[in-house]
Amino acid sequence: MLAWRRLRADRVGLGALGVVAGYLLLSLLAALGWVAPHWEAEVGSHYAPPSWLGAAPSEAPWDPAPQSHWPGSVPLYGLQDPLAPLLATLGPPPGGVLAPVEAPRRSTLPLGADKWGHDVLAKVIQGGATSLQVGLFSAVLATFLGTLMGALAGYFGGRVDDAFNWLYGVLTAVPYLLLVFAIAAVLHQKGTGTLILILGLTGWTGVFRLMRAEYLKHRLREYVLAAGALGAGHWRRMFVHILPNTSHVILVQLSQNAVGFIKSEVILSFLGFGVPVDAVSWGRMLHEAQNEMNLGKWWQLAAAGCAMALLVTAFSLLTDALRDALDPRLKS
């Protein structure tokens, strides 16, 4: 409650909280399919520009659904077609030529269209949902792993501490991206779940270091010794007595990691290790924008870049505000 009062006093922090909450709400609605559910629908023409730019001057037009020949009217050069009897019951259409129907497409969209004609606005919203999902879940996973291992290492010390420190040392000795690629290669699967695993499994080291230090500090404090004297077991002392006193570290780490992992998702997707074909994320969009820039189609880059910049900035400001509000040593 004290923390909430402190946070409320922080205008910037409150604003950042509003932005992050807005993103979360939008992502939740998108994930539930209430907002922008049909991002895969090809509603615009290819590379339709944003509405306020006006329709593009018609470049070399091409027919997205060209006429095609009716199989029954094509010469078979004396061969037998086992499907001929079936085809005879289906056709032929007048004139012997078929034209598949294509729904009319819009020449402009609010934020433009990508190469297939997908609405960039819908993609930004759906991509945000994916990015936030990856960022939050992997941050939770990393924080959980880091907290658990940090607690064990810091509380027990000795051999246990050595073992965890060794693991920490090994993981941090490998350059980050190299480590990510190694784990991606081992998992040998693509998908949002894989991405969360990769980021979670590589990202716990920072949390571990801080939590170990906290536990080292707290395990000899009077209140922990008192709890021990009253008969509390190790488990109870670690997670019921000490853990609440380190919650500010956990919360700050959680939000800091979320920001970091949203950016990591972008990098991984940019490098082609990202989300699968039927999903969209900001990293995916930036990756596509690489080739679009050669064509002078900047709107997808701008939309995904701005959306991400706003969220990451807001999240960082929120983290700062949270640290100020939660750290008990900073009593104003």
Binding site: E40, P71, Y77, G78, Q80, L98, P100, V101, V277
Partner: protein
């Protein structure tokens, strides 16, 4: 110790050159002042880039296109392709005239040009060394020597009478016998070579025109046995002057190259007239030096060309939109006098479906209908516009334009037509389940697995396929493999569905049709298509030369591939090449990897260093 001397002498040459460089500048101003020095003739240099490093210059050991381009200039094969004729046509190179082919393509009699000299080399001991028919025999034998492990061994394997037996014997003894004559390679006199094949093969002439068939001298190969790749000594118009491995290659004119005049006939292309006018009667080669930099990053090559540091540039797909508007050069580039050469590659991109796959394979009407529906759902126009950015053409026939046997008017049975594909699936019993996706007629799940590689363009192929399957309400699964793994899986018939590509080794339809021949399963027949009727028709084509009879059979073969839902031909790539205004006599060739000796650069129009 001879090795020692060999290493010393280049060093001496370099020292002498250095001394020369240091010495020359001093007297030069005097000469200018007196006005008595002969005018300094500027060297004509052609500046080029190469997208991947070379792999050494022993033709029998190499297989990549970049190295082949250089070997085409260093060495000469018996035959080659005419510079301007389209469709491409075989012409003699080392041969004095086209070979006499008898016994239904089994007996090939070559008469060699006289007065063809190898480039100077210390191995020849200061004398000029003439090329003879025996050198050609030695060169052909080298392909079958197990020690060489030649990637192009297949060009000769199982073809020449007695040569395979010699190779088997070498496998046993560990030593290839080059000295005893082989029945199929007879040398009646110094300038005549009689080749006897095991069976009819009208395409043997194409094998003899491949750049790796460039003739070498036995004493050179044996003298440099440890590093033949670094000592190319051929009879071609150029020789290797300077080589920094994987970085920089300089060719200079071969002083021993015979007197040959530029005398190509203009083809149907209107641009040929000016080209012929500029070049006719000139001595080959006109360019003194070819300077090749290895530039792996297309961006660097593009910028280098823009600054005039490169004279000719093959435009990679991603930069096509920067240089082109539709099929025209951008006005800004055209105003600088830059020329665009645009031609369709002798290649096809084609979908294939594995005929031995448990889900998609089989010859029941349901399976055939399912495969044809899958192929009919592929939108090739969108593929060309979005994925290839307009730099491809719709193709329907397995043999692309410019290759013997092509038919540009062939009408596909499998044109893009989702409504018809859906009707077919409905009638064949592929009903939609409660989740909206189709199931197999027996009610079990239906998932189509599409295999692509890892690049960003492959991701676009995935998206295309996802869209195609969505049109049919069929579940899509993406399989991502590295390119060598894909090739391995194809050989094991493990790939279910893929968009593959093939570019002509030689410009004959057979090079494409063999992709579906039953016995080629586990080699090139990635569809693992084994159909007695198809194989019987294909075997007939092998006994026929190019002509209406073979063409009629090819049409049946192509149609049968569509009827059985094996393959849909999708696109043919367009090759875009840019050349600077000072480049003369240049026209890209669909098959020849390089044409530098037929080109010229305008004197005075010196490109930046």
């Amino acid at each position: 110790m001879p090795g020692m001397i060999n290493h010393l002498s280049p060093l001496l040459v370099v020292l002498l050159l250095l001394a020369g460089l240091l010495a020359v500048p001093a007297p030069a101003p005097q000469g200018v002042a007196q006005g008595a020095a002969p005018p300094v003739v500027a060297l004509k240099v052609l500046h080029l880039d190469m997208s991947a490093p070379e792999t050494g210059f022993d033709p029998v050991l190499t297989s990549d296109l970049n190295t082949a381009a250089i070997e085409q200039q260093l060495f000469e094969s018996l035959l080659t392709y005419d510079y301007l004729a389209r469709p491409v046509r075989l012409v003699p190179r080392l041969a004095a005239r086209m070979p006499e082919v008898t016994q239904q393509g089994r007996h090939w009699l070559f008469h060699l040009k006289q007065g063809v000299w190898f480039a100077p080399d210390p191995v020849f001991g200061g004398t000029r060394r003439e090329l003879t028919a025996q050198d050609v025999v030695y060169t052909l034998m080298r392909f079958m020597d197990p020690k060489n492990r030649s990637p192009y061994r297949f060009l000769l394997e199982g073809k020449i009478l007695g040569l395979d037996e010699r190779a088997r014997q070498a496998q046993l003894t560990g030593h290839f016998d080059y000295d005893t004559p082989v029945a199929g390679l007879q040398v009646p006199d110094r300038y005549t070579l009689a080749i006897t094949l095991k069976t009819t093969d009208y395409n043997f002439g194409h094998a003899m025109a491949q750049p790796m068939m460039g003739v070498v001298a036995r004493e050179v190969i044996e003298a440099y046995a440890a590093d033949t790749a670094a000592h190319p000594v051929g009879t071609g118009p150029y020789r290797l002057a300077h080589w920094i491995r994987s970085a920089h290659i300089v060719l200079e004119r071969n002083p021993n190259f015979r007197r040959e005049l530029w005398d190509f006939q203009a083809g149907s292309d209107p641009q040929d007239q000016a080209l012929v006018q500029a070049m006719r009667g000139k001595r080959i080669p006109q360019i003194d030096q070819v300077d090749i930099q290895v530039v792996e990053e297309p961006q660097s090559a593009w910028l280098g060309f823009g600054k005039g540091e490169l004279d000719v540039l093959g435009l990679s797909g991603q930069f096509a939109p920067l240089a082109l508007e539709g099929d025209q050069l951008k006005p800004a580039l055209a105003a600088r006098g830059i020329h665009l050469w645009r031609m369709s590659d002798p290649s096809i991109a084609y979908y294939f479906i594995n005929q031995q796959d448990p889900v998609l394979g089989g010859m029941t009407p349901e399976k055939i209908g399912l495969r044809r529906a899958l192929l009919m759902a592929q939108n090739d126009t969108e593929m060309i516009q979005v994925v290839h950015k307009g730099q491809a053409l719709r193709a329907t026939y397995p043999i692309p334009p410019g290759v013997a046997g092509a038919d540009p008017n062939y009408v596909s049975l499998l044109d893009y037509n989702p409504p018809l594909a859906n009707q077919l699936l409905d009638r064949l019993g592929f009903r939609r389940g409660p989740d909206g996706f189709r199931r197999q007629p027996d009610g079990s799940a239906l998932v189509v697995r599409y295999t692509t590689s890892l690049s960003s363009q492959d991701r676009e192929l995935d998206e295309m396929m996802k869209k195609a399957l969505d049109r049919l309400a069929i579940r899509f699964e993406s399989e991502k493999l590295k390119f060598p793994e894909i090739l391995k899986a194809e050989r094991q018939c493990q790939i279910q569905f893929r968009l593959s590509a093939w570019i002509a080794d030689y410009p004959d339809g057979d090079n494409f049709m063999q992709l579906w021949y039953g016995p080629h399963t586990h080699e090139n027949n990635a569809a693992c298509y084994q159909d007695a009727e198809w194989d019987r028709l294909y075997a007939q084509t092998l006994t026929l030369p190019d002509g209406p009879a073979r063409s009629a059979l090819y049409h049946q073969l192509a149609r049968l591939l569509e009827i059985n839902g094996v393959t849909k031909i999708s696109t043919t790539h367009i090759r875009n090449v840019l050349s600077q205004p000072w480049v003369v006599g240049f026209k890209p060739h669909p098959i020849l990897p390089s044409v530098w000796s037929y080109m010229d650069v305008e004197p005075g129009a010196v490109s930046a260093p």
